[in-house]
């Protein structure tokens, strides 16, 4: 399946959902490697239909313009506590402002580096937001095409979800 970009006809390109998803996966690995020093493994790739994820802290950032959609970075609380400990030296026991801050920063960096790596002009990123609450669920509109990347690492699991808005009429 291809994604037609909302660009002028003379600049139109087609990209597959696979290429977009691979870019987000690669950038996620780089962010965790460079900022946390963590080696993360892509354990599973899935589609949204029929799948529900529940996590504890989620960073959400939208992108618009040439490509429209939303990136969600969802983490288990324990994983975020370990991440905060690596920066601050002390490990939280609950979802603190530092935990929220960290997830927001990770989401911003994954979104920003993915946007740069895609190399498509006209993509704008929104401001990241963070949702916290044990066992919450983030849902996309039924019309969105959603790619889900399950990662695992020593500190615990987390998920990257990318919801793409399908081009008008396609």
């Amino acid at each position: 399946m291809t994604v037609a970009l909302a660009t002028a006809p003379s600049e139109s390109k087609t990209h597959s959902y696979d290429s977009f998803t691979e870019t987000f996966a690669s950038c996620t690995k780089k962010v965790f490697s460079t900022m946390l020093g963590w080696d993360i493994v892509l354990a599973e790739r899935a589609k949204r239909l029929g799948f529900l994820s529940k996590y504890d802290v989620s960073g959400i950032i939208g992108f618009s313009g040439a490509v429209r959609g939303t990136l969600v970075v969802s983490c288990a609380a324990e994983m975020t506590y370990t991440a905060v400990e690596s920066f601050l030296g002390s490990k939280p026991t609950e979802i603190t402002d530092d935990v929220v801050d960290l997830v927001g920063e990770l989401t911003n960096m994954i979104g920003g580096s993915s946007k740069d790596r895609l190399g498509i002009s006209g993509i704008e990123l929104g401001l990241p937001a963070v949702v916290s609450g044990i066992g919450h669920r983030v849902s996309f509109q039924p019309s969105a095409h959603v790619e889900i990347l399950h990662f695992v690492c020593d500190a615990g699991p987390f998920t990257i979800e990318i919801g793409f808005s399908k081009p008008n009429g396609k």
């Binding site: 920063e105 920003g112 580096s113």
Partner: protein
């Protein structure tokens, strides 16, 4: 030397300060937004500024413009995810000394600082 670190993320300020500490820079000031950064610069004799691009009150670019308007030539390094070419050009024209894109590790930051600091 004294370094001013401006970023609306408390975690990112801590990351940057930890990296500064690793290269021997232990005298640091923190600012959580652009206006705080400008106020801190005017109130304290800082030797370098590390600033994020997107911040509340005033942006990192605003910080650069106002610092340079005083005649100061201290090194200013922009730390940001916004690596678009047009924004880099705007930052350089405003007087940014160097540019560091997130994500970065301590070695990346150390290399940028070493260009301007003899510690």
């Amino acid at each position: 030397m004294k370094v001013l670190v401006a970023d609306d993320s408390g975690v990112m300020r801590k990351i940057i300060i930890r990296a500064l500490n690793s290269v021997g820079v232990t005298d640091t000031l923190e600012a959580a937004n652009g206006q705080e950064a400008i106020d801190a610069f005017k109130a304290n004799p800082v030797d370098m500024i590390l600033t994020d691009w997107n911040m509340p009150e005033k942006s990192g670019l605003d910080v650069v413009l106002e610092v340079r308007a005083t005649g100061s030539e201290i090194p200013i390094i922009m730390v940001t995810t916004e690596a678009q070419k047009s924004q880099v050009i705007a930052a350089i024209q405003a007087g940014v000394s160097d540019y560091l894109t997130k994500p970065f590790d301590s070695d990346d930051l150390r290399a940028k600082i070493d260009k301007f600091v003899a510690v």
